[in-house]
Amino acid sequence: MTGSGAQVPGTEARLARIRGRAMPKSHNARTIAALASNPGCARRAIMDAAGVDKQRLAAHLGYPAPFGQSRFALARGNAFEAQLKADGAAQILHLLRENLGLPLEQAHYIDLDDVGGNPGMDLRHARTRQLLARPEGTMFDHPVLRLQVGGRHAYLEPDLIAVQVGEAFRIVEIKSFPVIDGQADGGKVAAAAIQSAVYVHALRDLVGDDKVHHETILICPKDFSNQPTAQRLDVRKPLTVLRRQLSRLTRIEDLLKLLPEDLTFDLDPDPDDKTATHRRDPETLKDAVSQIDARYAPGCLSTCELCYFCRAKSSGQTARLGQQALEDLGGLDSIPAVLGLASGALRPSPERAEATAVLRQVVALRAEVFGREPEPTPAYPEVMGEAV
């Protein structure tokens, strides 16, 4: 797989131009999971590939992202991870022995946080690769893996990789949400499983499928305490979904072909101003962002910084009403079309006949219940009379 990632000359330059003068943001397991959850969104694919700071971009567009991170949560997360990794990851070792039956003499801990004081990703990835090829350690902290996303490399840092003698590598994921009476928040566990799946996928790419276990270890605080507890997490399902979604991602080169050469999201930082004022006209920035097709869905609200901008530009799309509504409306993707077909103002094309029959029935039932004629629906001249 690594061989297929030959970068087309010029791609880097174009992505750099799109990013502009801002520092690049790199992919992580969370962003890859988000991208894979909406593989049809070219806007996110390009921005992530270019390393665009979407948070800053969204704020400059006048649509600041709806999520931030509380410093309380950050502090708790960091403290928990630091506690686990203290003294050569003594607490993790204890948990691994309990969970994986790791022999006692195996207690080697290698920190890959930097290589001889050099924290570069390329170097750390090379070092990870080298060490994992002949595993002499037991636990590898801060390893760096590499994954192909849309035909480009993204670097990833799992919390930890553990190896069991004579068996496979395991990804260890540390999260600070609690497991209370053996139960944790389902949504958070699912998100952790997807992130672990991203790491499993990347690690398999590096050392081979049979050398990485499909069960990962999730370490969380137990009940209301700071004591860690480990759970095995079978990530085969999210892994299958992830693989399929990643394979559906269009190659970045192909997406770039559709875009103007001079497209940029540069915010035009004022070089003299230390407060980093951005001088880019938000209107031209909006036009630039709108050059790339987006696929907004309500799921974006919790995963993408640009969600409010995309939502504002998606009026008239049934997707904004939720996945279920879209399905219940027989896949009709435009609100005006739904209303037009329902009222009879629009003529359905043959493939819409079934969905239209359902809508007509809905309108008749509502009229019967509310005891009045269906409300007049505004006409849509641009689609009027045409089959939609």
């Binding site: 709806p66 999520f67 931030g68 991170q69 509380s70 410093r71 309380f72 949560a73 950050l74 502090a75 708790r76 997360g77 600070s176 949400f177 609690p178 209370i180 009476d181 928040d185 605080p221 137990k222 009940d223 209301f224 305490s225 700071n226 004591q227 309500p298 799921g299 609200l301 919790s302 409010y308 009026s315 049934t318 904004r320 009403l321 939720g322 279920q324 509504a325 879209l326 219940d328 409306l329 027989g330 609100i335 739904v338 209303l339 329902a342 359902v358 809508l359 029935q361 809905v362 309108v363 008749a364 039932l365 509502r366 019967e368 219940v369 509310f370 629906t377 505004p378």
Partner: protein, 495 residues
């Protein structure tokens, strides 16, 4: 959801205002509910930060915790909360009634109702109850007796939203969403201010505009339990540090604590107002016919639990035993079936969904033989037949027994279905017509009458026998040891 609800969402998006998806109210709203809005500290396992609580709109109680990571302060908070919740619950006295078998069963004429903003508040309340109910009043980390007591009640009330049709705990965003469709997604409907904006926007504003404003955490602080991260970083962190510093230096801690409480109050009070606004909106709807009987079942559940808790003095176990879990599952399924049927019988708009799926049809009586007598058996019996003409899609087979919301005691057996432009369904009726061979007036649908028939009914299904717990089969782990909360529950580690 259904095509009806999805269509109502598109209409709401088009008209910029929420559209009704129910024509009557399907939840009970108490005359004196207890509104509870908790906030938690981000990142911690169920660390209460503040709450606004009370049963009187004009006089809420605001509770705050200056250092949510301190175990003692957490339980001081829960004790303060108990001082509001326990007297409220005690305002609903228990009585007893003699059952058919002569046993005395606990009853309550009315029950306390807990109202919380959304599903996340239920999850928080469940953990708050879990964290408090095992605590001891003696030994290390002793707590006041009210702490485990209120923990048990919070545990009971946070389990109730799982029960279909129960209103003991009213989850406001869910209750609103089951009566109105907004022009946004179900994910966005979880924001209390936003869904309220769609339903009842301030004057001069569309629902869509009000919902957009509701997303500004400065204008509309989140309904919790998660706080706005910007508030955490810019306001809360500094104040918590200042309180700690003031305590260490021994000066001015009262003033800074007051400042902290006031800041937290700004995060809670707008939600408090919105909760009561939602209560008003729900109260204004006409209740469905079965709302009262469902509330009676809620009152019985309250009385049964109160009686069990008083008799045993025990906290609910962490996990149900096998027998109890199977019984509970059966009950939930039966409640689900009954609630779905009751909703449809009470509300033509809900029935419309079943008509779309073919589980029900409505039409007019095109032919009727009200005095038809079946003489084929040993005894002559009254078996009137009617033919219903309907434009609905009919998928029922001959032989199926149907029920009409207008005559729930009567059975209607499908004799024939003649499909066409308008479908003709011939039904044979029995029951609900007295003993004689002449049906009393009104007991048989008349020619031209508008009727509706459904494949589901309101019949009560008797719970099958489950083995007593001491006879739990080996396939389910065998009989469990008698329930005694272990010491380790009371002495578990705290951060």
């Amino acid at each position: 959801m259904s095509a009806l609800t999805a269509y109502a969402r598109t209409l709401a998006a088009e008209r910029q205002i929420a559209q009704p998806v129910a024509s009557v109210r399907h939840v009970h709203v108490s005359d004196r509910p207890l509104v509870f809005v908790p906030l938690q500290l981000a990142g911690e396992a169920n660390a209460p930060l503040a709450a606004i609580v009370g049963s009187d709109r004009g006089t809420p109680t605001v509770l705050t915790v200056a250092e949510p990571r301190d175990r003692n302060q957490r339980f001081a908070f829960i004790a303060d909360l108990a001082d509001v919740i326990l007297p409220y619950i005690e305002g609903y006295p228990l009585g007893t009634r003699e059952a058919k078998n002569g046993n005395l069963v606990p009853v309550a004429g009315d029950a306390p109702q807990l109202i919380v903003p959304g599903p996340a508040a239920v999850a928080f309340t469940r953990l708050l109850g879990r964290s408090a109910r095992f605590r001891r009043t003696d030994g290390p980390y002793a707590v006041p007796a009210t702490v485990p007591l209120v923990g048990r009640w919070l545990s009971f009330y946070s389990e109730r939203p799982e029960v279909p049709g129960s209103s003991l705990t009213l989850v406001v965003t869910d209750a609103l969403a089951s009566h109105w469709a907004t022009g946004q997604s179900p994910e966005e409907d979880l924001n209390l201010a936003s869904i309220l904006g769609w339903i009842a926007p301030p004057p001069g504003m569309t629902g869509a505009e009000a919902a957009l404003l509701a997303e500004d955490p400065v204008r509309c602080p989140p309904a919790g339990p998660a706080t706005d991260p910007t508030f955490d970083n810019e306001v809360l962190e500094g104040l918590i540090k200042a309180v700690r510093a003031a305590r260490l230096t021994g000066g001015g801690s009262g003033r800074i604590r007051h400042a902290l409480t006031e800041e937290l109050r700004t995060q809670l009070e707008p939600t408090w107002e919105r909760m009561w606004q939602a209560v008003d909106l729900l109260r204004a709807l006409r209740p469905g016919d079965h709302v009262a009987s469902r509330w009676e079942r809620d009152c019985s559940a309250f009385a049964r639990y109160a009686d069990w808790a008083r008799a045993t003095g025990l906290p609910q176990p962490k996990h149900d035993g096998a027998v109890q879990a199977s019984r509970r599952l059966w009950d939930l399924e039966e409640d689900q079936r009954r609630f779905a049927a009751e909703r449809a019988y009470d509300d033509p708009l809900v029935m419309a969904e079943h008509r779309m799926s073919g589980e029900a049809f409505a039409g007019t009586v095109a032919a009727a033989e009200p005095t038809r007598v079946d003489a084929s058996g040993r005894r002559r019996v009254l078996r009137p037949r009617i033919t219903v003409e309907t434009g609905d899609r009919v998928v029922v087979e001959p032989g199926t027994v149907l029920t009409s919301p207008a005559r729930t005691a009567q059975e209607a057996r499908v004799i024939s279905v003649e499909a066409g432009e308008r479908t003709l369904v011939t039904l044979e009726l029995q029951k609900g017509m007295g003993q004689s061979l002449t049906p009393p007036p009104g007991s048989v649908p008349e020619l031209g009458e508008r009727v509706c028939y459904a494949t589901f009914n309101l019949g009560y299904q008797r719970r099958p026998e489950f083995p007593p717990r001491e006879e739990t089969p080996w396939t389910h782990g065998g009989p469990p040891a008698p329930y005694v909360p272990p010491d380790e529950n009371a002495q578990e580690a705290w951060s």
